[in-house]
């Protein structure tokens, strides 16, 4: 039993390390592209770092989109030529 528990712990540690590695690679990529831009977003470790992106999407991004009509802002119209 002890060896089974040890193996289980070991595999979860490996998984955690893999997740952390993938997260760190992702953060490095996201932070590297526009470093000199004003107040650009910063990406790093947070409460979702233990999730693969596919898992994150499956759990948290569950809003269904619909097609919305275009907002009818007041359109400026040219005054027709009149005498």
């Amino acid at each position: 039993d002890a060896s089974k528990y040890y193996r289980m712990n070991e595999s979860s540690e490996i998984l955690s390390s893999l997740l952390l590695l993938e997260s760190l690679n992702r953060h490095r990529y996201l932070n590297s592209l526009f470093p000199r831009e004003n107040s650009t977003a910063v990406y790093g470790i947070n409460q979702f770092s233990y999730l693969f992106p596919e898992e994150f999407k499956a759990i948290y991004l569950r809003s269904r989109a619909s097609r919305f009509p275009r907002y009818p802002a007041d359109v400026q119209k040219a005054i027709p030529n009149v005498s």
Binding site: H27, A41, Y43, K57, Y60, S63, R64, S66, Y71
Partner: protein, 214 residues
């Protein structure tokens, strides 16, 4: 337009909530908009029941997902009375819809509007000022790793997957940004909020915008 505006400063926005492992962002954003609409109408600022919307909005799938538009349509058409969060608390899972007697107090919306404001974010800001916080649907894939700052890249329009609430904007610096309330707890982002660049329809923030009427 003012340089900075945030409905939080008017004390009509409730505390950021945490949807936990429930895919009910659509319900959280709609209920947050209803809470603000209620407060703007002069009633006390109070957390309303997200669980009621998750359990009872029949066109949606509770914690497995849903549409803000369907939820708004259901609230408006059925004149559903939203009860307080204390009476019908959040459980982070789907449950059986609980019904309340007609005499039971609750808050119902009068209606809603739903528009696409892409290329018209200034108009969207005007609507925010006149109609209150706005429910929007964004592409939030890269928000998994967000810590702070202004989101300007790494997301697309036309890939909407997450419902949130725009409570204001800030145009005092460069670039100007929308102030966006999320439902992933206050430890995420900037005290539970994200800042998204105004202009350019970043993350599709202007594609699907709804406002609640009271």
């Amino acid at each position: 337009l003012p340089l900075r505006f945030d409905w939080r400063d008017k004390h009509v926005v409730t505390q950021v909530r945490n949807q936990q492992a429930c895919g009910g962002c659509w319900a959280f954003s709609v209920v947050a908009a209803a809470e603000s609409a209620r407060a703007r109408a002069g009633q006390p600022l109070e957390a309303l029941s997200v669980q009621q919307v998750i359990d009872c909005s029949y066109d949606n799938y509770g914690c497995s997902g849903g549409s803000t538009l369907s939820a708004l349509n259901w609230l408006s058409k059925m004149q559903v009375k939203l009860v307080s969060d204390l009476e019908y608390p959040f459980t982070a899972q789907n449950g059986l819809c609980r019904y309340f007697p007609a005499s039971h107090s609750g808050f119902s919306i009068k209606g809603y509007s739903a528009y696409n404001f892409s290329d018209q974010e200034d108009e969207m800001a005007k609507v925010l000022l006149t109609s209150g916080p706005l429910i929007v649907i964004v592409d939030a894939v890269s928000w998994q790793d967000y810590l702070g700052g202004i989101i300007q890249h790494h997301c697309s329009s036309g890939e909407a997957n997450h419902a949130v609430l725009v409570t204001g904007f800030d145009r005092t610096g460069s670039p100007p940004y929308w102030i966006v309330r999320n439902s992933w707890g206050s430890s995420w982002g900037v005290d539970g909020y994200a800042h998204v660049k105004m202009g350019g329809n970043i993350c599709g923030i202007a594609d699907s915008v709804s406002a609640v009427f009271v």
